[in-house]
């Protein structure tokens, strides 16, 4: 049967990764669109488009990073990655003890890397679309020397120097990461019960 031969030739396909990533992307885009819409006071359509753009950008860059770094990793670590991807668990070797720390570090790093990518991405997207900044840049009132000193002393936090955009993206990223983490845990829980 040539059709079966074709599949035999293809070998092992990353279908589960594709299906699960599509699901995660949809969830993340939906959640982030809601938050961007509320925070930035924009319409449904642009908020969904921005969220889709930012998440697709972060995902693609993540894939490119993984695909380019994977051949460079030391052999014992590389085989642990292979073990996780193919069998969903690690195996025992000299790296096995460090893996929980590596995983947590990777999670934290990817959170901040994604946040940075999304912030820069939104900035560039708005520039490319020729949209004036969403939030009005608050004009610095002319302050006396004392007031400026007070401001610097308080770390300028209450003055709202962190723009609405940054807060919106940070919140969106945090919510989507939480949702993804919950989904991953749920999947593991379901798999371990069967």
């Amino acid at each position: 049967m040539p059709f079966a031969d074709f599949f035999d030739e293809l070998g092992v396909l990353p279908l589960r990764a594709i299906a699960f990533q599509s699901l995660l992307l949809l969830v993340a885009i939906a959640l982030e669109a809601i938050i961007l819409r509320q925070r930035l006071r924009i319409g449904y359509r642009p908020s969904a488009q921005y969220a889709a753009t930012l998440n697709l950008l972060a995902t693609s860059l993540g894939w490119l990073t993984f695909l380019s770094l994977e051949p460079l990793t030391p052999e014992p670590f590389r085989t642990q990655i292979i073990s996780y991807i193919l069998f969903n668990h690690f195996y025992f070797n000299e790296w096995a003890g460090n893996l929980p720390i590596v995983l947590i570090l990777a999670g934290i790093i990817s959170f901040f890397a994604t946040l940075w990518i999304k912030l820069k991405g939104l900035e560039w997207l708005l520039k490319l679309l020729g949209i004036t900044p969403i939030e009005e840049p608050e004009k610095d009132p002319i302050l006396s020397r004392k007031e400026r000193y007070e401001l610097a002393r308080r770390g300028r936090q209450e003055k709202g120097t962190t723009s609405t955009r940054t807060v919106a993206v940070l919140e969106a990223n945090a919510v989507s990461f939480t949702a993804i983490l919950l989904l991953l845990l749920l999947r593991d829980a379901i798999e371990s019960t069967y």
């Binding site: 070998g11 990764a17 753009t53 991807i85 069998f87 195996y91 020729g130």
Partner: protein, 355 residues
């Protein structure tokens, strides 16, 4: 007259059919996708003509290139014009992109299949994107923000598709590096899926065990029993050289060789020993406690007339000169113990670690 009428009648009946064929083959205007296909066919035929007339390589290449370009634009245009869709997605840029990829990476020498497939979504995205930035007279234009947003999304989606394709090829690289992984079950995986009904290939450990078996046959089969006993007594040192020998004899030492540990365990049996040949997998596996492959060999003691090779009855151990010292005391009794090694055909796969 009657025949003529009949012909006429048949012609009348088939006329729509003939006009249909004519309309299908002859483009309604010169500026159409069919013209492109004909141009492609024409330059393809011309390239063969040029090839037959032994024109320069450059001419042939130029003609075939034009043929490919016309073909991809013609097919893309045709699909676009007829609005061919699959699951609501227009097929035109993808098919045109595939043809273009085949052409571009066919030009580069060597096997570029992987690169061609990975860049297919990107080239298809370019086919969608580039026309948005061009006016009909070929000038660069800047599309409205709505289109710009769509263009960005299309590019990112194609980048993601390309990453998935690249991930597929990366998986195949892993299986090339560690072939025994193919023999595993991927049911627990969150990433990969094997089309069901496909038999998992044999693990490479089987080949290693076969090599071990032939090495043991040479060392322990048809030997004086005392030498065999000495070999078994000294098994740990013997295993060191055995492992080295097996590693040297492997045809293609793959990366996964370091995951296999060869072990031979003698167990006392009624008339000699049972040798358990084990290939222990120390790499990634679906089994939480690992697995090993085991083949059992029976090393039995057989009594033979003391004269040994000279009788011609035994399939002579021609190199049996060395253990002569061990044989000597047994000559008086009339028979000497020799060894016989027989191995089971099948290899068992057992989970866990050997006890």
């Amino acid at each position: 007259m009657f025949a003529f009428l009949q012909k006429l009648f048949i012609f009348k009946v088939f006329q729509p059919f003939f006009t249909g064929i004519r309309d299908f083959f002859i483009p309604s205007s010169y500026f159409s996708w069919k013209t492109m296909i004909y141009l492609s066919l024409f330059s393809w035929l011309m390239s063969w003509l040029a090839f037959g007339l032994e024109a320069t390589r450059f001419t042939v290449m130029l003609l075939t290139s034009f043929s490919w370009l016309f073909l991809s634009f013609g097919v893309g245009w045709g699909l676009q014009a007829n609005n061919v869709k699959l699951f609501g997605i227009p097929l035109a840029p993808w098919v045109a992109g595939a043809i273009l990829c085949g052409f571009i990476f066919g030009l580069i020498p060597g096997d570029q299949q992987e690169l061609a497939i990975v860049s297919w979504p990107l080239i298809s995205a370019l086919i969608i994107i580039v026309p948005q930035f061009l006016t009909w007279d070929g000038n660069v234009k800047i599309p409205p923000p709505m289109t710009r947003q769509q263009v960005i999304l299309i590019f990112l989606i194609s980048l993601l598709l390309s990453s998935w394709l690249q991930f597929y090829f990366r998986l195949q690289n892993w299986f090339d590096d560690y072939p025994s992984l193919m023999a595993e079950s991927f049911d627990g995986s969150g990433f990969v899926y094997r089309v069901p009904g496909r038999t998992a290939p044999l693990s490479d450990g089987v080949a290693l065990l076969t090599l071990t078996e032939s090495a043991l046959q040479r060392e322990l089969h048809n030997r004086p029993w005392s030498g065999v006993e000495r070999w078994l007594l000294n098994i740990n040192d013997q295993l060191v050289s055995l492992r080295r020998e097996i590693r040297d004899r492997l045809v293609s030492p793959s990366r996964e060789q370091r995951f296999w540990r060869i072990d031979v365990r003698p167990v006392t049996a009624s008339n000699g020993y049972d040798l358990k040949l084990q290939a222990i997998w120390q790499g990634p596996t679906a089994e939480p406690n690992g697995y090993y492959l085991e083949r059992t060999c029976q090393l039995t003691r057989v009594e033979r007339p003391a004269t040994g090779p000279a009788t011609g009855l035994t399939p002579g151990p021609a190199t049996g000169l060395a253990p002569a010292a061990g044989v000597a005391p047994a000559v008086a009794t009339g028979t000497t113990p020799w060894s016989n090694l027989e191995c089971d055909l099948q290899t068992e796969r057992k989970t866990g670690r050997p006890a």
